[in-house]
């Protein structure tokens, strides 16, 4: 038994026949072949699958595809272009905010909404803001820096130094 749903992903409209139990993340990864959105757990704990649904960050492993019927979804593939990276993408690279890259798309999608709502967050607000996304490699220091870098750039201000600081 399937049901037709229509979703707009990264600006492109798709009508797909899906089983009602299909998770949104599997629609994105397996039916639409957008593999930048990752799966890191089965309990909605890690946030690797975070996408934007109508501008709000959401864990796509926690939502059924049918619930996204009619929605506009942005995945990492819809952020920036190779010629013009989004300030968050740039910030993650400039500040060494990633190692293995597996949590990175989810982190970036989560940070998009965070900065949309709070363009000038404190370190504390950033840390709480990404508390639903796990990273096992970086220890988070440089993820915080990457988001601060992007926030400055999005506000049109000079970006902070990206040289590593040592005590």
């Amino acid at each position: 038994m399937t049901r037709d749903i229509t979703v707009t992903i990264n600006g492109e409209q798709h009508t797909v026949a899906v089983e009602p139990r299909l998770l949104l993340v599997h629609l994105i990864r397996e039916k639409l072949n957008l593999t930048g959105t990752h799966i890191g757990c089965d309990t909605s704990s890690c946030g690797a699958c975070t996408v934007l649904i109508n501008g709000k960050s959401a864990k796509s492993c926690t939502i059924l595809a049918v619930q996204a019927d009619g929605a506009s979804i942005t995945t990492i593939e819809g952020v920036g272009t190779p010629e013009a990276l989004h300030p968050l993408q740039e910030g993650f690279r400039e500040c060494h905010g990633l190692h293995c890259g597996f949590c990175t798309p989810g982190m970036i999608m989560r940070a998009m909404e965070l900065l949309e709502k709070n363009p000038n967050p404190t370190e504390e607000e950033i840390r709480w803001g990404i508390a639903g996304n796990l990273c096992r490699c970086t220890g988070y220091n440089n993820i915080v820096k990457a988001i601060q870098y992007a926030a400055a750039k999005l506000r049109g201000e000079e970006t902070p130094s990206t040289e590593p600081e040592f005590v």
Binding site: L85, F102, V167
Partner: protein, 790 residues
């Protein structure tokens, strides 16, 4: 100070250049194993045991097989027909691929279901009926050794107990004599808990067997693709799958930390099913399966003792370990070292007497004994010595910093021979601790603590000054299943002066595509941005033992430098020919050879490489390629001085890390940005077992926290803002003086945190708490001391 010999454009060692690999990761274009989709691909899911120890009476797959899209259900009996139901572990023990009659731990693989898609496979898994006869499991490793304990490994002929092996090192009699006559002796019992690496990507594979060509391509999450190819050939060679017919591809890996070194049953079953069906088979485990069944780390019960003079000079240490290995010894260690490199546990201190022994036992828990961002049991050893050092300082009434300074090996005494047989290559422990103390303001903190204590507030300061041991390893001592632990690099420079370099290691986030390019850039002067690094494809990369135990820089990084130097020797010959001078008349500076005294007469590396293809000297082989298999003469010994400050709430016992300063010494630094990133990450992975993580089992062997809902991986909120720095003491024997760093902070952080917490609570007479130290554990300890009531 980090000094650079090359320009930023060349980007050799010391430059914090941005990582090449990030470009694809930040745009969602990484290619991880679950992103691979092949035509006709089948999906595999695994039925797992609800019991820790049970006999399998019957498996009924009939309902599962009725589901449209289900292709097969595979059991141990099916694999037995091909002699694939057992496999060897890396420690030469044996492990079930699928059981034929008995399950040995909860969540063990019982059967595999194969279907045309992921959801159907999951439906079928639910439909498989298994009838079990539960038995009383052995969960406690101490009880496993009791005479009336049931013998778990009845598959081993003549086995009459649950003991696996005994290991010892050092001088037992001399140590006992020192302990008998010492002024002061301290003793602590510690459990280093069972934990899990939780790389954010779980394990998985796509096994693609081509019946027509009798060829297997295995895409899998492995840190050691070459070794895996050899293991597959050993396991499946009798079916005609010999090593040249196997290609292992390790694509981008979403974190490894040691958990992606072993061969898991799922991989072998996927290969078997692909072999039988001729179709590609994908297996991707769930997080919960990953936590419950994949290799654990640690689980060492340690009794640690130290003897010292009244004046504060360490005389000897003695460690006794009980290692809980689960139902098989599937640890990932070099063959000769069943406890890994635990014998580094004499620490950073100058004394000549030690004895260590360990016994390993079988229990009804998952197998393992892998790293968790740690080099072969070094974390366990370092935790023991650094906790013990604090206990001794307290017993002597000395400041723990002063006690360490008094006992450190002096920098002029390197190379230094440890009482357990290691030769430490270099170090400057005094400089590291001095720097850490200055940065954090140690003396002021002690004064503040004294004031706070008067007011009844709980503040603690903890130090850890550790010595790591990495870079396994020299072939005389180090092998895995007989294969020596060298590593390799092959460099090919194209006519236009751009290069590709391939390695036997495999990055899981360490940044090899950037840092290896920097090593070659340093040696040849070819800009790092024009050096493409490749790893993880056994058809193209030279053989190597893989990436774990902080061995990539010490082994493959060294191989890159030596291979590049071979090319520089060739370049010198070509330059002499082109400039019509003798080789001795040439000087090298990064990127060119020039004539001594006439710097305008020069040939750039690009000129030289072009000539190697277009105008090479008569009699010389054309081309510009070199390969090196590097066999390290010794291990490397990175070190660090960490200081942690905690405040503990007197009502809730919430522990707040106020500051954490980490001074690492990993020798010469290839890329300071990457090194710092590694240190940050390692520190959070040190915080995790110190305060949050432990796999907990009940008396029936049920795992109580087998999902990420209740296995607490630190988030950005728990993780403090790390303050990091370095001292630089190059390794004297490594071609570029580097030592490796990825795991140092995971090794060094837990005792610094534990020491800080114990320091805060020492006012109540507490000398030790097992990690993870939680508010509840503090509450229990204070209750036991009579400080608080129920």
């Amino acid at each position: 100070m980090i000094t650079c010999k090359t320009s930023r454009e060349i980007g050799g060692m010391g430059h914090p250049i941005k990582r090449k690999e990030d470009i694809r990761f930040i745009q969602g274009k990484g290619r991880y194993v679950d992103d691979i989709k092949l035509p006709g691909m089948l999906h595999m899911d695994i039925v797992r045991s609800p019991y820790a120890y049970a006999r399998i009476k019957h498996i009924d797959a009939s309902e599962a097989l009725k589901i449209p899209g289900v292709v097969a259900v595979v059991t141990g009996k099916d694999l037995e027909k091909y002699n694939l139901h057992w496999m060897p572990t890396l420690m030469s023990d044996t492990q079930m691929v699928l059981p034929t009659d008995t399950v040995m731990y909860q969540a063990q693989e019982v059967a595999a279901v194969i279907a045309t898609d992921r959801y159907t496979a999951r439906d079928a898994k639910e439909a498989v009926r298994v009838e079990y006869e539960p038995m009383k499991p052995v969960v406690d490793p101490y009880k496993a050794l009791e005479p009336d304990a049931p013998v778990l490994r009845t598959d081993k002929e003549g086995k009459t107990d649950n003991h696996i092996w005994h290991w010892e090192v050092g001088d037992r009699e001399k140590t006992e004599a020192v302990f008998r006559s010492a002024d002061v002796v301290v003793k602590e019992h510690m459990h280093i808990p069972r934990i899990h690496v939780v790389s954010i990507e779980t394990c998985g594979c796509v096994a693609d067997y081509d019946k027509v060509n009798n060829h297997l391509t295995m895409y899998m999450t492995t840190q050691a693709p070459h070794a895996i190819r050899t293991v597959i050939a050993l396991v499946a060679g009798h079916l005609g799958l010999t090593e040249e017919k196997i290609r292992v591809i390790s694509p981008d890996i979403g974190g490894g930390f040691g958990g992606k070194v072993p061969v898991y049953p799922g991989y072998v079953i996927a290969i078997a099913v692909s072999f039988l069906t001729g179709k590609p088979v994908k297996w991707i485990e769930d997080r919960s399966e990953n936590l419950q069944a994949d290799s654990f780390a640690r689980d060492y019960h340690i009794t640690a003792e130290m003897a010292a003079t009244r004046e504060g000079k360490i005389l000897a240490t003695r460690f006794k370990v009980l290692a809980d290995h689960g139902y098989t010894d599937a640890a990932a260690n070099p063959s000769k070292f069943p406890t890994g490199l635990f014998s580094i546990g004499t620490g950073s201190y100058d004394y000549d007497t030690a004895f260590m022994e360990a016994d390993a036992v079988y229990t009804n828990k998952p197998p393992g004994g892998v790293a968790y961002r740690c080099s072969f049991r070094v974390t366990e050893a370092v935790h023991a010595i650094e906790r013990l050092t604090d206990s001794m300082a307290r017993a002597l009434g000395m400041d723990p910093a002063e006690f360490r300074m008094k006992n450190f090996i002096k920098k002029e005494d390197f190379p230094w021979k440890s009482p357990t047989g290691w030769t430490y290559d270099s170090g400057d422990y005094h400089a590291g601790l001095k720097k850490a103390m200055e940065v954090i303001g140690y003396d002021d903190l002690r004064r503040e603590q004294a004031e706070k204590r008067k007011k009844g507030e709980l503040m603690g300061i903890g130090i850890s000054t550790f010595t790591e041991i990495v870079g396994a390893g020299p072939s005389r001592d180090f092998d895995i299943l007989g294969i020596k632990m060298f590593d390799s690099c092959e460099i090919r420079v194209h006519p236009t002066g751009k290069a590709i370099a391939r390695f036997g290691t495999k990055s899981q986030g360490q940044g090899h595509e950037t840092t290896y390019a920097q090593i070659i850039a340093e040696e040849l002067g070819i800009p790092a941005e024009h050096i493409q690094v490749e790893e993880g494809d056994t058809d193209t990369a030279p053989y190597g033992l893989g990436t774990y135990a902080s061995r990539s820089t010490p082994t493959a990084g060294a191989a890159a430098a030596v291979a590049a130097r071979k090319l520089r020797d060739k370049a010198r010959k070509i330059a002499a020919y082109l400039l019509e001078v003798s080789e001795e008349d040439l000087e090298w500076e990064p990127g060119k050879f020039y004539v001594k005294g006439a710097p305008e007469k020069a040939k750039t590396i690009q000129d030289i490489v072009f000539a190697a293809y277009t105008n090479h000297p008569p009699g010389m082989e054309a081309g510009f390629e070199a390969t090196h298999y590097y066999d390290p003469p010794n291990l490397t010994f990175p070190s660090g001085a960490y200081i942690c400050v905690v405040d503990i709430d007197k009502e809730t016992f919430e522990i707040k890390i106020r500051r954490f300063v980490a001074i690492d010494d990993c020798g010469n630094i290839i890329n300071p940005m990457v090194v710092q990133g590694q240190v940050h990450g390692g520190l959070t992975q040190g915080l995790a077992p110190a305060m949050y993580e432990e796999l907990i089992y009940d008396e029936d062997g049920n795992i109580l926290n087998g999902t990420l809902m209740d296995y607490l991986v630190p988030t950005a909120v728990e993780s403090p803002r790390w303050e990091t720095g370095h001292t630089i003491t190059p390794s004297p024997h490594h071609p570029i003086g580097a030592k490796g760093v990825g795991e140092s902070p995971t090794v060094g952080a837990p005792p610094a945190i534990a020491n800080a917490i114990v320091d805060a609570l020492s006012v109540y007479g507490i000398t030790h708490l097992d990690i993870p130290i939680t508010p509840y554990k503090i509450y229990e300890a204070l209750k036991a001391k009579g400080v608080i009531e129920d």
